[in-house]
Symmetry: C2
Subunit: 416 residues, 2 copies
């Protein structure tokens, strides 16, 4: 059976597909898989209990239950949640937001599919524009989202050595030339895969650059402020009317409800609402209704600060300790883990590609993610791309420790 | 701000957007709107109670709760639900299905976005292929789904007069020529908007025609068998390995969870899974986990037959009676309501377009849907397109009755 050009493009074996297949297989597997791949959040007991309580309350509230399950929302997404979130962000950060600054999407990924293809690609005047990632490594899921070929362009970072086997990527502003072919800038903050949190000065710089060139700055805050707040350093959230800020309910513990959030000026929200109506008819309301009370009360920020962030920070410290202990004697560097729930390893002496290392570890029931996937839009051959691994520390702690030990053994065997 | 060609295409003011905006505004409105538009299902008390019970049970089951909210599903959708549904369909109809014949999508609409653009549009060899709707009127939501222009083609129906002001559309097989430019055939059964249920002989004919031309037959069963079974006449469900059958949880009462279901041969399911992974990362699991027990036990078929179908059948009879009483003396015909939850009115003497009639009724707080939207792919100017209305009878019964009375008054005033 022959598929269309579009069909072939989106149905092909992508990095995202490999990731999700491995994740799904491992989650369903009877074997004792060490899951350091994927982006599944942890099941934090306090959060699970809170969600169970909310569901129990909703099951006894016929009106809210109808809103959660039984009524199509309007195209931009469930209105009360959008109003509550606008109020929360206004009171917390002083941003001048209203419900018409907020659209919900069927998960962040779908939101990015819509956003990237709205802003970039082919234009009616025959021109082509691209999304620029000012700093790679960057999220692998962006890679395959473009309707047209060649929709992304990216820059290498500058690398700061921090001592203690830590390093940090920075935006290389000197090489950040923006011309007419750029439709928007996009960064994740905290960064998936590296755990990097761009500094406030870098955000300021990117914001000014974007504004000067009349293009929006997209900031993917799936792990960031104000929730789920998986950020281990002081930093300010960044929004102005030239910023498209995306948030998510996934890393609060709700990846299976598929609720992405986009905060932008009304013109962009209206376009996304139109795309929702055509492509999805409506966006689901489960996450919105489930979380609205916590947004109204501001408790969503409290639980993020008091439960979610400390949980991941303590998991991060344990994982980092495992790396230092299991990789002792190897030549390795870890990106300073400033947020999200990944360790990003750089193995400069790796004699095979990180994709091959991924396969070797998978054969030992250790699932990690090879670094290759995390350079969307970066065409040039840069050895660094094959020298990195992303390790999630969100799943079972003992399995993470054993997985890292297995990695140490493989590296030892490879003489890396 | 300038949007891409794709962006403009999907963000434009489409019929679907108008529908969803009106529906959302009416649902949120304080005014006493008579809602005969939109496709929102009814809130059937027994079903609401059942869903509340399921949620309560899940809130006390930590493991299932994690699967429902906290874990990304594999790309084809939550595996246990797909296994359970395959088993149910195998035992009920004898279809040789397995989990790899089933994909979940983020709602049926997203499923059709993926399916249509997978099968039709531009091909690598430079050719263009289209989806053929063998019978229009057909679902308005198909209209705007094509990535490329001109992706749909359609045929007029033949019209059978049944007496008692009823009529029925039939596939006009004599004019159903299929050439190389056709990628697939697509019908909704029961039909949204008309409530038509294609006869078993028509399905057989379409199935054979599709197979003879080496193209799949897509059957949209959002309202059909085995659930939610909003079908008021005896008919056989239709599936073979050349059929792509789509089902939905929406009309069971779960439109806000956004769970579509596609049943097809593994090659197509695998392609849809790939598209899910790229476009959505994963499909939501809420509907799948919420409904799995009812699918396992077969109760989902029982409640469809004993609760959902009788509920809508009795609503249909009341609405039909209202039409005959309020439109007495006017020249009108009603498509025989055989399924779904709409009355499709044909007003041959209407002196204005049905779009204008829609506006007049909206000004009286009566929301209906004008027929114009329901001829996707039918380019030719056919007066019938402007002479029809779709009335939903799923919402408040008294409001439906008052809405139909208001329609009668408008038609009287128009001398139609």
């Amino acid at each position: 059976m022959e598929f269309s050009t579009f069909g072939k493009r989106y149905a092909r074996r992508t990095g995202a597909r490999e990731l999700m297949d491995d994740l799904g297989a491992a989650m369903a597997s009877e074997a004792d898989v060490m899951m350091l791949g994927g982006g599944n959040p942890a099941h934090i007991p306090e959060i699970q209990a809170l969600l169970a309580d909310r569901l129990r309350a909703l099951s006894n509230d016929a009106r809210e239950l109808r809103r959660m399950l039984g009524d199509y929302a309007s195209p931009a997404g469930e209105l009360q949640f959008r109003q509550s979130l606008a109020t929360l962000l206004r009171s917390t950060y002083g941003w001048p937001l209203d419900a018409d600054n907020i659209a919900l999407t069927s998960g962040s990924q779908s939101g990015f599919f819509q956003l990237f293809n709205l802003l970039a690609g082919q234009f009616d005047d025959g021109s082509t524009r691209r999304i620029l990632f000012p700093l790679t490594p960057e999220y692998a899921g962006y890679n395959d989202l473009g309707i047209s070929n060649d929709m992304f362009v990216a820059r290498q970072p500058s690398i700061e050595q921090l001592g203690g086997r830590l390093f940090k990527y920075h935006v290389d502003f000197d090489n950040l030339v923006i011309d007419n072919s750029i439709a928007a800038l996009c960064v994740s903050r905290p960064c998936n895969p590296t755990g990097n949190v761009l500094t406030d000065a870098e955000m300021q710089g990117l914001g000014e650059l974007a504004r000067a060139h009349g293009v929006p700055l997209i900031v993917d805050s799936a792990y960031g402020l104000p929730f789920p707040q998986i950020v281990f350093r002081d930093c300010e959230p960044y929004w102005d009317d030239n910023v498209i800020l995306t948030m998510s309910l996934s890393k609060l513990g709700l990846p299976a409800v598929r609720n992405g959030i986009v905060i932008a000026r009304p013109e962009i929200i209206d376009a996304l609402a139109g795309m929702n109506a055509v492509i999805s008819l409506a966006v689901g309301s489960v996450g919105a209704v489930l979380m609205r009370e916590l947004v109204d009360s501001g408790d969503v920020i409290d639980i993020s600060r008091k439960v979610i962030r400390p949980y991941y920070e303590s998991r991060m410290r344990a994982a980092l300790e495992s790396v230092h202990s299991s990789l002792k004697g190897r030549n390795y560097f870890v990106h300073r883990p400033e947020g999200a729930f990944f360790l990003w390893l750089w193995l400069p002496d790796l004699p095979i590609s990180s994709a091959e290392l991924y396969q070797r570890l998978k054969a030992r029931d250790v699932i990690v993610l090879p670094g290759e996937h995390f350079f969307p839009g970066l065409g040039e051959d840069w050895p660094h791309k094959r020298q990195c691994l992303r390790l999630s520390y969100a799943q079972d702690a003992a399995a993470v420790e054993r997985g890292i030990a297995a990695l140490g053994e493989e590296l030892h065997a490879l003489g890396a």
